[in-house]
C-alpha cells in the first residue's frame, strides 16, 4: 500500500493503483470520459487532469499516472477547473447539441459534465461534423457526429470481446471510429460498445425513442438464457421491459453481457405472449378460465396416475422444479426429466460417478486465475459468451495458455498463442483418454493419484489409447497429443472447460468421466484456478440437476417418456417450457409420440410448435415476472424478484404446480421463499441459504468432492465414406429455442444454416447462401449454405434452435450424423 494525500485528505491505495483509482477508492470523484474499470488506462479525454505537487504543479492525467509514496494531489484547483472547462468547450465544438432527441440524455457523461462545469457558452466556433449515421443493422445505431473519441468502444471490442469490429480511422481532426473500409457494423452485436459509450454515439436501436432514461425504473435480475448466470439491470416503464442498463459494478462479469442478454429481452413483452389458458375443443384451442383448465388437468393426472410423465425446461426456477417434482410424486409417477436427458448426463452420471457430486468442482471465477485452459470445442464461446469474455481476458491480459480440442476452429482459436487441435468429430473421449495415458506412462502426473479408487482399472482400460493408436482415428498427430498432455500436466494450475447441452450429444457422461480422470491424474483438482468446469446450457440447468428433476429411482428419462407416449404406456404428458419438437433429436419420432399421447398439457409463454399440439395450454410468465432462484453452471445460486407485473392472465409455473398439488389433495406452498427454505434444508450444498443471505451477488452451493476413477464408456464413431460429418451446436445469438422470441437475436440470426468448408464448397460448386438439400438416414431438409474458413474439410455444422426448420429433421441425436449435400 502507498500513502498519499488527495485534496488534503490522507489516503492509502494499492501500489498498482492509478491516481484515478486511488481517488475513487477513497470516495473522491474525478471526472472522466474515457475510463472503464474493465479496460486498460488510455488517457484520451483529458478530463481527469489533476495537479501533483511533486510534479511542479503540472496538470497530469489521473487515469494513467500510477500513485507513488507521498504524492500530494489536488483534483480541483481553479486552474484544473479552467482546464476541464476548456476540454469540454473543445468537445462541444463538434458535438451536436441534440440532447432533446438523443436517447443518451440523462445518462450522458458529456451532458452531465457540461452541466456540472457550467459550460454555458463556447469561446470557439467550428462546423459540426456531417458524417452519415449507420442505421444498417437493427441493434446498434452509430452516430459518429456525437463521438468524443474516447476509444472505449474500440477498446472493449478488442480487450474483452476480442472481435475488433471498431477502430480509429484516419488522423487528427479527421479521426473517427469505424469498421474496416468504413463498412457498416457487422459483428457479434453484443452491444458492449453501446454499454460503455459515454455519449450518444452508440445506441441500442430497440430502445430508440422508447423512454427517457430518467423515467425508467431499474430492476436487478438474472439473465434467463444460458447457464453463465449473468446479472442484468432491466429498464422498466409502464410494466414493460424496455431495455437492459449497464452497471459496471454488477456481477462477476462487471456488467458485461452478450447479444442475448443485452438484446434478447424483448420476448418478455412480446405481442406473441400467451395471456389466457386454452383447451382443445372440437380440434381447436379455445380460451377458457384458469379454474376450468386446471380442473381438466388435475382430473387427467388423477386418472393417469403412474402413467403420467413430465418434461420441464431448465429455465424454471428451483422452487418451480421442486414443486413440479412434488406434483408428479403426488400423482404417483416418478417419470420426470429435462433437456432430453443426455444433455445433463455429464453432471448426473459423469461427475456424479467421478466426484460424487452432480456439479462442477470449479467455478467461472477460476478461469482468470488459471495458468492453462483446456477448452473442449470452440463452441464454448458461442454457448456461453460471457465465459468466453473471461477466457479472452485470461489469455490476453494474464497470459494464460489456451489449448483447444475441437472439431472445427472458432473464435477462441484466434486468441494470441491459442493452440487449436482440430480432430475428427466424435473423437474427444479417445483423445482425452490418450492424454491420460501419456500422463500415466510418462509419470507426468500427481503421484498420489495412484491411491485413488479405480486407478488400476483405469490404467488397464487405457491400454488401447496410446497416442499412436488414437492418432489414427482422431486425425491429430501423436506428437500433438503428447505435447498437449505434457503442457497440461506441467501447468501449475489448469482448468478444463466443456459445454453440454441439447445440441452437444457427444458431450456425455463418458466425456465427463474422461475429463475428470485426466484432471485427477494430473493433480489439478482442489486448487484455485484449476479443475474442471462443465458449462451447462440453460440458466437453471444446474438447479434442475440439484433439485433432482431428472430420471432417478426407476423413473423414465426424457427419451423413454417419449417412447412411452408412442407405445401408449404414458397417457398424460405435462410439458413445462420445453419445445421437444424442435430441440429433441429426431423430429419425426417426437412428433409421432406427441401425436399419440392421450393427453398433452403444455405450460408456455408462447404458442410453440409443441404447444400447438397440446390439449391444454397454460400461459406462464417470464423470469422478469416471478420470484425464485436460479443456479448457474458454476453452482452460484441467485435470487430473482419480479421486475414487472404478470402479463395478461399468465401465471407462474410455481402457482400452477401449487394449484395442481392442492387439487390432488396436497398442501400447496404459499410462497417461493417457503419452498426455498425447504430446498435449503434438503439440498446438499444449499445449507444455510435464504433469499436474504443470497443478496445481489448470490452464493455458491458448496461441494464436497470425493474423487474416484471411472472408466469412460467409449464407442468409436464410424465414418461413412462419401458422406460429410454433420455436427450440431449452438450459435452465438441463440440459446435453446427461447431466443427465437427475442427480436434482437432474430434480427441478427433469423434462420438455420449449414456451415461448410471452402474446400468442400469449391469441390461441390456451392456458393454462399445456396439453398442446399441436406440428407441423412433420418430424413432431409433444406438449409442455406454458409462457407467459412473455420470448418475442416468433410465436416459441416448446423445450429439447432430454429422452430421453422428444425435441424432434428436430419439429426437423430448421434454426436455425428452422416449427411450428403446437394443443390
Amino acid at each position: 500500500m502507498v500513502n498519499l494525500t488527495i485534496d488534503d485528505k490522507q489516503v492509502t491505495a494499492p501500489k498498482t493503483a492509478t491516481i484515478y483509482d486511488a481517488a475513487k477508492l477513497n470516495g473522491i470523484k474525478i471526472p472522466i470520459l474515457c475510463h472503464d474499470k474493465k479496460l486498460k488506462p488510455f488517457g484520451a479525454c483529458r478530463m481527469c487532469l489533476v495537479e501533483v505537487e511533486q510534479m511542479k504543479g503540472r496538470q497530469i492525467p489521473a487515469c494513467t499516472t500510477p500513485v507513488t509514496e507521498g504524492m500530494i494531489i489536488r483534483t480541483s484547483t481553479p486552474d484544473i477547473v479552467k482546464a476541464r472547462k476548456m476540454v469540454l468547450e473543445l468537445l462541444l465544438l463538434n458535438h451536436p447539441i441534440d440532447c432533446p432527441v438523443c436517447d443518451k440524455a440523462g445518462d450522458c457523461d458529456l451532458q452531465n459534465l457540461t452541466y456540472e462545469y457550467k459550460v454555458d457558452a463556447n469561446r470557439f466556433t467550428d462546423e459540426k461534423f456531417h458524417l452519415e449515421i449507420d442505421y444498417t443493422n437493427p441493434l446498434i445505431e452509430r452516430d459518429m457526429n456525437r463521438c468524443v473519441l474516447c476509444g472505449k468502444c474500440a477498446r472493449i471490442c478488442d480487450e474483452i470481446v476480442s472481435f475488433g469490429a471498431l477502430t480509429f480511422i484516419d488522423r487528427g481532426i479527421e479521426t473517427k471510429i469505424g469498421c474496416e473500409f468504413e463498412e457498416a457494423l457487422n459483428c457479434e452485436f453484443c452491444g458492449s460498445c453501446v454499454s460503455v459509450c459515454p455519449v450518444g454515439s452508440l445506441l441500442a436501436r430497440p430502445f430508440k425513442f422508447k423512454a427517457r432514461f430518467w423515467s425508467l425504473t431499474k430492476q436487478k435480475s438474472v439473465c434467463g438464457y444460458c447457464g453463465t448466470g449473468c446479472n442484468l439491470t432491466l429498464g422498466v416503464k409502464d410494466n414493460k421491459v424496455l431495455t437492459t442498463i449497464y452497471d459496471e459494478n454488477q456481477g462477476f462479469h462487471n456488467g458485461q453481457l452478450c447479444v442475448r442478454g443485452r438484446f434478447g429481452y424483448q420476448f418478455i413483452n412480446s405481442d406473441k405472449r400467451l395471456t389466457k389458458p386454452l383447451i382443445r375443443k372440437n380440434q381447436n384451442l379455445v380460451e377458457v378460465g384458469w379454474d376450468e383448465a386446471l380442473e381438466v388437468v388435475a382430473g387427467r393426472l388423477r386418472d393417469s396416475g403412474a402413467a403420467s410423465a413430465a418434461l420441464a425446461t431448465a429455465r424454471l426456477t428451483n422452487e418451480e422444479l421442486l414443486l413440479f417434482k412434488q406434483l408428479m410424486e403426488s400423482v404417483g409417477s416418478n417419470n420426470y426429466d429435462h433437456s432430453a436427458g443426455y444433455a445433463h448426463a455429464a453432471l448426473t452420471e459423469g461427475f456424479a460417478g467421478s466426484f460424487g457430486i452432480s456439479a462442477s468442482p470449479s467455478t467461472i471465477l477460476d478461469i482468470q486465475k488459471s495458468d492453462l485452459l483446456l477448452v473442449i470445442k470452440t463452441d464454448a464461446y458461442e454457448t456461453h459468451p460471457v465465459v468466453g469474455f473471461e477466457i479472452n481476458m485470461a489469455v490476453k491480459n494474464k497470459g494464460v495458455q489456451l489449448k483447444i480440442l475441437s472439431d472445427k476452429t472458432g473464435k477462441l482459436s484466434k486468441l494470441p498463442d491459442a493452440k487449436t487441435l482440430v480432430h475428427t468429430p466424435g473423437s474427444e473421449i479417445a483423445i482425452i483418454n490418450s492424454l491420460a495415458k501419456v500422463i500415466i506412462d510418462n509419470k507426468l502426473g500427481d503421484a498420489s493419484a495412484v491411491s485413488l479408487p479405480g486407478y488400476a482399472d483405469l490404467e488397464k482400460s487405457l491400454a488401447d489409447f496410446t497416442p499412436e493408436a488414437v492418432s489414427a482415428q482422431c486425425g491429430l498427430s501423436a506428437d500433438d497429443i503428447k505435447l498437449l498432455a505434457s503442457d497440461y500436466a506441467k501447468a501449475e494450475k489448469a482448468l478444463i472447460l466443456f459445454p453440454v447441452g441439447q445440441a452437444y450429444p457427444g458431450h456425455t457422461a463418458a466425456l465427463a468421466n474422461a475429463v475428470a480422470n485426466l484432471a485427477l491424474l494430473a493433480g489439478k483438482l482442489g486448487k484455485e484456478g484449476s479443475g474442471v468446469l462443465c458449462l451447462s446450457e440453460k440458466n437453471n440447468s444446474q438447479g434442475a440437476v440439484d433439485m433432482g428433476f431428472h430420471a432417478a429411482g426407476g423413473g423414465l428419462n426424457a427419451g423413454q417418456i417419449l417412447d412411452g407416449c408412442a407405445t401408449g404406456s404414458i397417457k398424460t404428458l405435462l410439458i413445462a417450457g420445453e419445445n421437444p419438437l424442435v430441440s429433441y433429436p429426431d423430429h419425426a419420432k417426437v412428433k409421432a409420440a406427441l401425436d399419440k399421447v392421450e393427453f398433452l398439457v403444455v405450460s408456455e409463454m408462447f404458442m410453440t410448435e409443441t404447444a400447438a399440439m397440446a390439449d391444454v395450454v397454460l400461459p406462464v410468465c417470464s423470469f422478469a415476472e416471478k420470484e425464485g432462484t436460479f443456479t448457474a453452471t458454476d453452482r452460484r445460486v441467485q435470487h430473482i424478484k419480479p421486475a414487472i407485473k404478470k402479463i395478461g392472465q399468465s401465471r407462474s409455473d410455481f402457482e400452477i404446480f401449487g394449484s395442481l398439488i392442492a387439487k390432488m389433495g396436497g398442501v400447496s406452498s404459499a410462497a417461493p421463499a417457503v419452498v426455498f427454505a425447504e430446498i435449503a434444508a434438503s439440498t446438499p450444498g444449499y445449507e444455510s441459504m435464504s433469499y436474504v443471505s443470497l443478496g445481489d451477488e448470490g452464493l455458491f452451493a458448496s461441494v464436497d468432492v470425493k474423487p474416484v476413477f471411472v472408466v469412460p464408456q467409449t464407442s468409436a464413431a464410424k465414418a461413412e465414406s462419401g458422406k460429410l460429418a454433420l455436427v450440431t451446436g449452438s450459435v452465438l445469438y441463440h440459446n435453446g429455442t427461447l431466443s427465437q422470441y427475442g427480436e434482437g437475436p432474430m434480427h441478427v440470426c433469423p434462420e438455420g444454416y449449414v456451415e461448410l468448408s471452402r474446400a468442400d464448397a469449391a469441390a461441390m460448386k456451392f456458393v454462399e447462401n445456396d439453398l442446399l438439400t441436406i440428407s441423412s438416414a433420418n430424413g432431409s431438409m433444406k438449409l442455406k449454405a454458409r462457407i467459412t474458413p473455420r470448418m475442416p474439410q468433410g465436416v459441416v455444422f448446423a445450429p439447432y434452435h430454429f422452430g421453422a426448420n428444425p435441424v432434428n429433421q436430419v439429426w437423430n441425436g448421434a454426436p455425428v450424423t452422416w449427411v450428403t449435400l446437394a443443390k
Binding site: 478488442d158 477502430t167 480511422i169 473500409f181 457487422n186 459483428c187 454458409r786
Partner: protein, 170 residues
C-alpha cells in the same frame, strides 16, 4: 457474418493475384510486429492495398481487419486505390509558394485534369500537392517518381507531361 461480407467484396474487386501477397506474408509470418512490413511489401507489389489483400493479411496474420484499416488510414504512405505509374508531386511549401507553386499546380491540372490525390483513369498519373520536399533552394519544385525538377515553370510542365506521355506503361 463478416466472412460472408468478405466473400461478396471479393467478387467486386478486379482480379488480384494473391500469390504475391502470400509470398510477402510467408516471409514475415513468424516475425513479431510483422503488420507494417507486410503492408509495405504488399503496397510495393500492387501499388496500393486492394481490399482482398487486406482481408488476406487479416486472416493470415490473425489481425482484425478493422485494425489493418486503422493502420492504412493513419499512415499517409498507404493507398487504398490504384495509383498512377507516374506520381507527380508539386511542392506547395512556403518557399515554393512564394516562387509561384500555385501556377505550377494549375498548369498540371490544365494538362492532366486531375487534382490533388487523384489518379488519371488510364492509371498513368497520380497528382499530389506536398508540403515541402526539402529542397527549397530549387523552388518551385516538382517530382515525378524519383526524378526531381527544380525551378519549375509553366513551360517545363508542358515538357514534363509531353515526356512522360511518351514513356511506356509496362
Amino acid at each position: 457474418m463478416s466472412e460472408a461480407v468478405a466473400q461478396q467484396a471479393t467478387e467486386q474487386e478486379p482480379v488480384i493475384d494473391l500469390s504475391l501477397a502470400n509470398k510477402i506474408i510467408d516471409k514475415y509470418i513468424d516475425m513479431p510486429g510483422n503488420l507494417m512490413p507486410v503492408l509495405q511489401g504488399a503496397q510495393d507489389e500492387y501499388g496500393y492495398i486492394p481490399r482482398v489483400v487486406a482481408d488476406l493479411i487479416a486472416e493470415r496474420l490473425n489481425v482484425y481487419p478493422s485494425q489493418i484499416y486503422g493502420v492504412l488510414t493513419f499512415y499517409a504512405q498507404f493507398h487504398l486505390k490504384p495509383r498512377g505509374k507516374f506520381i507527380i508531386r508539386v511542392c506547395v511549401g512556403t518557399a515554393c509558394h512564394v516562387q509561384g507553386a500555385p501556377r505550377i499546380v494549375e498548369s498540371f491540372f490544365d494538362k492532366l485534369h486531375i487534382g490533388h490525390a487523384e489518379t488519371s483513369p488510364d492509371l498513368r498519373y497520380t497528382f499530389e500537392k506536398v508540403a515541402c520536399l526539402g529542397a527549397c533552394g530549387m523552388a518551385p519544385l516538382a517530382m515525378v517518381n524519383d526524378a526531381t525538377y527544380g525551378a519549375m515553370t509553366v513551360q517545363k510542365v508542358s515538357e514534363i507531361v509531353a515526356d512522360y506521355n511518351q514513356r511506356p506503361m509496362k
